[in-house]
């Protein structure tokens, strides 16, 4: 928050957030990413109105057919329309991506802000806990959890979110340590505001930039993790559909029906591309580097 109250009156310089948005708009790859992502999200939401087919409806007489006017992206072994399966798969994969990131965001910000603001022994203890969790082989645990408690999609959200919050907590803590020393926090303390109030109302709004940046870069990781699990048969279960699941099926039959692999793989890769471009663009726009605000 380098812009002070005086700048707001001057109306010459915008708020940091508007500033960042202006810089982001100039970044072509990032805007491309944002556009692709928006289109995919809209298509996923509008799936029932776009295709006349259902994602599980089989047509065994048709079987696997190449792209045609009736089935734009072809159909799979059971005669299910690929476009429909990919659209409904997008719903699942994107939902996992965003919801699990939100879970990670809430835990990570709360944990990191508390540790950073309170400091001292509590900080030390909380961050040591994060260090220990960091060393655990989480992918292995996630696989275990999915096997033990059944392949439940809500569990998937929680578990992935519970893994991804660690880095968020570290980044937030670093930011809070920096913010804590600034005058306006001292002012808030001298007003006699409670710690909870200061953290929620004054500290967290000021670290929103790096949090947005890191959250954007977390979404592709989560999507990757979900499709990794679904690929191994441990995530989303048929007849439900997700990108990882479609790719797994595509791999089995790629020799005869390569379109069953190529279409879902392209959609997944394009989404990951877009999210990475957008994340990098946001990082430049907010001027964030390695989880810390650049000086000067």
């Amino acid at each position: 928050m380098k812009q002070s109250m005086a700048d707001v009156k001057g109306a010459i310089s915008a708020s940091p957030r508007q500033d960042a948005w202006r810089r982001l708009k100039k970044n072509k790859p990032a805007m491309f990413g944002l556009a692709v992502l928006s289109v995919f999200i809209l298509l996923a939401l509008a799936a029932p109105w776009i295709t006349p087919y259902s994602y599980s409806g089989q047509n065994l007489e048709l079987g696997a057919s190449p792209p045609s006017t009736g089935h734009w992206l072809g159909s799979d072994l059971f005669g299910r329309d690929m476009l429909t399966r990919i659209l409904y798969g997008s719903r699942v994969s994107l939902a996992v991506g965003f919801i699990a990131t939100a879970v990670a965001l809430v835990i990570g910000v709360a944990w990191g802000a508390t540790a950073g603001y309170l400091g001292g022994r509590i900080d030390n203890l909380m961050m040591r806990f994060v260090d220990i969790l960091y060393a655990l082989p989480f992918t292995v645990f996630i696989i275990l959890l999915m096997v033990v408690f059944g392949r439940n999609i809500f569990l998937l959200f929680l578990v992935i979110g519970a893994v991804e919050w660690l880095t968020m907590a570290r980044i937030v803590r670093g930011q809070v340590l920096h913010i804590k020393q600034q005058d306006f926090i001292e002012a808030a303390v001298s007003f006699g505001l409670s710690r909870f109030h200061i953290i929620v109302k004054h500290v967290i709004p000021n670290i929103i930039g790096p949090v947005i940046v890191y959250a954007t870069l977390t979404v592709p990781n989560v999507i990757l993790l979900e499709s990794f699990l679904s690929f191994l048969g441990l995530g989303i279960q048929p007849p439900q559909s997700s990108w990882g699941l479609l790719i797994a099926y595509g791999v089995e039959t790629m020799e005869e029906y390569p379109w069953l692999l190529i279409f879902p793989a392209s959609v997944l890769s394009l989404t990951l591309f877009s999210l990475n471009f957008l994340g990098d663009g946001l990082r430049d726009a907010f001027d964030v580097r390695d989880g810390g605000v650049r000086e000067g």
């Binding site: 990757l224 990794f228 690929f231 692999l261 591309f273």
Partner: protein
Amino acid sequence: MVKFILKRLLQAIPVLVTVTIITFLLIHAAPGGPFDEEKAVPPEVLKHLNERYKLDQPIHVQFYDYLKNALQGDLGPSFKYPGRSVNEIIAAGFPVTFELGCYALLFALLIGVGSGIIASLQPNTCQDYVPMAFATMGICLPSYVLGPLLVLLFGIWLEWLPVAGWELTPGDKLLPSITLGSVYAAYIARLSRGGMIETLSRDFIRTARAKGMPESIIIFRHALRVGLLPVVSFLGPALAGLLTGSFVVETIFQIPGLGRYFVQGAFNRDYTLILGVTLLLASLIVLFNLIADVMIAWLDPKVRHETING
């Protein structure tokens, strides 16, 4: 330095104990036991099986027994592969996974560091954009997409390389290693580019240039040592990722490694096998992180000073 290593080794103990406890509890919280699926086992046989594998004992006794044996290097018998011990299964699968991981890492380091350095020498030119575009592509093509595409292209359409197997036909190790290593090559390229660009703008490089040193010595002897630090600290997590990532690659290429046993063990509720593999992976990850830290302490004069004096 010895003190630093010892301290880190001591810190590893609570991590490993936590891993064992969590895994142990998770597996025992699972609905259904390892002998459920076998069709209608008579109650007396089930009782005998449970006695033999000590499943009738209270959980803390089981845990204590397991920990005691594990510390002596005995990970117990497998539940699902009769007559085989977990040690034997690991001994059969781990060398394959390890070899695959080493090749993948080698590929990642060669390609990643190489293209990272090339990109960093002329930032924001073609020489920078082309390798970095490939790096972004590598990050966005996970192994379960890249692997099948490579098989489709080189194995099926061009018929240059075998599509699956391990040590069966010459050249069958190439595609799995590239598949597993490509994502890490991409990350390493980005990290080494960033590190090198930052290092090349530092004062000691300017001093070296001012003294008229040849550019190759400046880059390889002075800048690399500092510029590659981010890569070294990435190696710990990267190796951990290579080990778990090989689950997918082993599935695609039908490689008889640890990953395949683990995934099957998880499906079959083979308690002891899962526990053993998890413990092994956790120990390796802790070890890799330790080695990465030691290497950083050795390479970075700033950190080296702190670890020796502090």
